[in-house]
Every structure is written in structure tokens, then in C-alpha cells.
């Protein structure tokens, strides 16, 4: 009995939800549409609850560091949990539209996230230098088209030869389109196959420990 509750029912739920959504999508049955809508409505709320799980994990991990006074770490853990609590307290008190919440968001999250993202600029520069080398035949092809596109995006390219923007755009619009189309078609089949196996209970990794 407990085996049924623990495993079979969840697998059946996944399957049934899948079927409802497929019928809703492919067939014109209005009644199913209502069920589909309700399910997706539920999904919105349940995934909102899932956002709390990450916070709990952080509390466990960094609370542990603080308690154990882990060398070179606990003080950082303290900063982490302080930031976490600051956002939750201010956010719950005044909502995301509150002026103080907007202030901490704009002055803490915005610069941190923007700078992390921006730091990729450093890595792509050193990466271009290191990786765009004529080491093998394939790497040489990569080097040549890479430089053509760099020249297309920098006005010096067109100034040197007005063919750069034309060739660059042609590669992007024609060759890249077709290549990505081929890759996309292939991987969509892979995704589809796994999705089908998941819905019929052949892949049950998401259930976690047995």
C-alpha cells in the first residue's frame, strides 16, 4: 500500500497531467481547456513555493559555518545570511514596490548582478585570445569566421574592405541559421524522447531517493 502511495500515485499524477495538457493542446475540447487552465494556475503557485527551498538550504549550510566558526568562512556566511534576512524582512513588510525595498534592490542586487554578467567581458577577451588560434583545421575555420564577425562589428572592418559586413551578415543569416536549425531539430528529438519516457514513468529520477 505504502509503495503505491509513495511511488505509483506520483507517477500516475505526472502521467495524467501530461495527458490533460496534450489533449488540451492538440484537440479542440473546451472542457479539457478548463482543467488545463486550473492545473497551470496551480503550477504557478507551487513553483512560487519552491523558491523557498533554496533559502532553507542556504540557512542550513551557512548557519552551520557560523555555529562551527569555520575558518575563513563564517564571517562571510554571516554577511550572506544578513543580506538574505534583510531582503525578506523589508520585502515582506512593504512589498516589492516599497521605496526601501527598491532602494536595497537597486543598490545591492543590480550592481552585483550587472557586474558578474559584465565580468564575462574579461573572460571572453582572454578566451578569444587563447582559443582563436590556428591549431587544427577546425580551429582555423573558427578563427577565420570569428575574426570576420569581429571586423563586421567594428567600423574598421568596413573601412578596410566593404565586404566584411556583407560576408559577416551572410554567415550569420544563412549559415548560422541553418546550423542552429539542424542542431535544434536534433536536440528537440532528444528532449522529446526523454519527456515521453518521463511521462510514462520510465525515467523516475525526479522522485529522488528510493
Amino acid at each position: 500500500m505504502s509503495e503505491v502511495l509513495r511511488k505509483n500515485v506520483p507517477l500516475a499524477i505526472t502521467f495524467l497531467i501530461g495527458m490533460v495538457l496534450f489533449v488540451e493542446w492538440f484537440l479542440a475540447v473546451p472542457q479539457i481547456g478548463v482543467a488545463g487552465t486550473a492545473l497551470r494556475d496551480f503550477g504557478v503557485t507551487v513553483s512560487a513555493f519552491a523558491l523557498g527551498l533554496g533559502a532553507i538550504n542556504l540557512f542550513a549550510l551557512h548557519g552551520g559555518h557560523i555555529k562551527a566558526r569555520t575558518k575563513n568562512q563564517w564571517i562571510y556566511s554571516l554577511a550572506l545570511l544578513a543580506a538574505l534576512l534583510l531582503f525578506i524582512i523589508v520585502g515582506v513588510q512593504q512589498g516589492v514596490q516599497g521605496s526601501q525595498y527598491k532602494w536595497i534592490y537597486n543598490n545591492i542586487i543590480v550592481p552585483l548582478s550587472a557586474t558578474m554578467y559584465g565580468a564575462i567581458g574579461f573572460y571572453i577577451a582572454s578566451g578569444a585570445y587563447r582559443a582563436l588560434r590556428a591549431r587544427t583545421k577546425e580551429a582555423t575555420v573558427l578563427l577565420i569566421t570569428g575574426v570576420i564577425l569581429l571586423l563586421r562589428n567594428a567600423p574598421i572592418g568596413p573601412a578596410l574592405w566593404d565586404g566584411f559586413p556583407i560576408i559577416g551578415s551572410w554567415i550569420m543569416d544563412i549559415v548560422t541559421t541553418a546550423v542552429y536549425r539542424g542542431i535544434m531539430m536534433g536536440s528537440s528529438l532528444g528532449i522529446l524522447a526523454l519527456g515521453i519516457r518521463t511521462l510514462i514513468g520510465m525515467e523516475r529520477g525526479y522522485l529522488g531517493r528510493e
Binding site: G127, A131, G190, I191, L194
Partner: protein, 261 residues
């Protein structure tokens, strides 16, 4: 009255046919039909990278990516975990150390189980140190990335295998691990990021190759059967494109419209 929604007839037919084909191939493979998946160069590279790290006495990092098990990228993550299964057995049988950085909470218990099983199979379960080896970092993209950078600086892995879903951080990861001298094998379906792995990793599995690699290494009949079904549909797609174009050139109109019915 229409029963099938407009614009979805062909899609539904293809969907159902694909579903059947995958199930039939899985049955066939389970029934003993021999389906061999072509060996990919990047897979040999995984062995080579592990061997090199063992010789150097340094750890091996295996990264199953940023994806979770319930989102759009579940498929990529599952492929990464299949490769993790293979890597951990190999690494542990050589007596080397494996580090697995984790982003999503739901991936952690699975990765942990896989590595624990490998230690059990090698007869040395007492050597498995879950907290040290299966490193839960953060589901936040860049916090996870930064955590991996830190791990790389401290542990200096000699091999870095990254197969799964990767986003903008792909370039940072590949550069940071190159900094510490790791031999790198990457694999992903996210077309935005494939160029960066291709440029910065020593070997790369591109797009669908990660599913084939997972199937090849796991020898799982369900995964192998699926690849056979996928191949059939790629051939069908190729034939449709070529035949459709020939018909269109001969002046038969409306082939694309037919496919979009």
C-alpha cells in the same frame, strides 16, 4: 466540427508516431536487438582526461550543469548524470578523487546516490565523503559559477568534464578551469553557448551528442532505443526536406503549408 486543433494536425501525427517509434525501439533493444551507437571522439577524451588526472595525482571535476530535473532542461541534466555515473565508476576504480559541483537542490540527492553506488561497486564505501565531493553551491547562476571558480582555485583539478545545461556562465567556467590547467570536455544543447565550449574546451559534445553519449556510456536500453528512434526521425526529416524541395522546384505549391497543417 474540428476535433484536432488547426495548425497542429501534422505535429500531432509526428508526435504520436515518434512516441510509438521510441517505444518500439526500446522494446527491440530490450529484446536483444543490437543497436550500436557510434563512438564519439569526445568520449575517448573523457577517458584520456581521467587517465591524465590520475597520473598527475589530481582530482577530477564532473559538472552536471545548471539545470534542474523539472524544468525545460531536465533532459540535459539527465544526460549529464548518465555521464557522471560512468565517470565516477572509472575515477573511483583508479583510486582518484571526484568533485561534483551542484546548482539545483533536486539534483543533489541523485548525484550523491550515483557516486555512492560507484564507491560501493568498487568495494570502498567508507571513502565516500558526501559533503566534500558533492558540493551544493547555489541555484543562482552566478553564485554557482563563483563557487566553481573557488573550487577550481583550491582543488586544481586536472580534468574538467561539463555535460548538462549551461548558460552565460559557460565562458567563465571554461576560462577559469583552463587557468588552472585542466583538460576539458564540454557538452551542451544550448546553442547560444556551444561556441564557447567549442572554442575553450579541448573536446566538445554538441547538441544531441550529449544524449547519445549518455546512452553510449550508460548502456541503458531505454536511452539506446530512444536514440534509434531519433535517428529514424532525422532520416525522415532529411528525406522530407529534400523531396519537398524537389517537388517545390518542380512547381508543386503548398508543401510547407501542408507540413504546417
Amino acid at each position: 466540427m474540428e476535433i484536432i486543433a488547426k495548425g497542429k494536425i501534422v505535429a500531432l501525427l509526428v508526435f504520436v508516431a515518434f512516441w510509438i517509434a521510441v517505444l518500439v525501439y526500446i522494446r527491440l533493444v530490450q529484446g536483444g536487438r543490437k543497436v550500436e551507437i557510434r563512438r564519439l571522439a569526445a568520449l575517448d577524451a573523457i577517458d584520456e582526461a581521467i587517465g591524465r588526472a590520475v597520473e598527475m595525482g589530481k582530482p577530477i571535476m564532473m559538472n552536471p550543469g545548471l539545470g534542474s530535473l523539472s524544468g525545460t532542461f531536465a533532459a540535459d541534466t539527465v544526460a549529464g548524470l548518465a555521464v557522471l555515473d560512468y565517470c565516477s565508476r572509472k575515477v573511483i576504480s583508479y583510486g582518484a578523487r571526484l568533485i561534483v559541483p551542484i546548482a539545483q537542490p533536486d539534483v543533489m540527492p541523485l548525484a550523491s546516490d550515483i557516486v555512492r553506488q560507484a564507491y560501493l561497486a568498487a568495494g570502498k564505501p567508507q571513502e565516500f565523503k558526501a559533503e566534500e565531493q558533492i558540493r551544493y553551491l547555489s541555484p543562482d547562476q552566478f553564485a554557482w559559477t563563483v563557487g566553481i571558480q573557488g573550487l577550481a582555485e583550491r582543488e586544481k583539478p586536472a580534468a574538467n568534464i561539463m555535460i548538462g545545461y549551461f548558460a552565460a556562465e559557460a565562458m567563465i567556467l571554461a576560462e577559469s578551469l583552463a587557468r588552472v590547467g585542466a583538460l576539458q570536455v564540454g557538452g551542451l544543447t544550448n546553442t547560444f553557448q556551444i561556441p564557447f565550449f567549442v572554442a575553450s574546451c579541448d573536446f566538445v559534445l554538441i547538441g544531441e551528442e550529449i544524449f547519445a553519449a549518455g546512452a553510449y556510456l550508460s548502456k541503458d536500453s531505454k536511452a539506446i532505443g530512444s536514440i534509434a528512434g531519433e535517428d529514424l526521425f532525422k532520416i525522415v526529416a532529411i528525406i522530407t526536406i529534400i523531396a519537398g524541395t524537389i517537388l517545390s522546384l518542380l512547381g508543386v505549391p503548398g508543401i510547407p503549408a501542408l507540413i504546417q497543417m
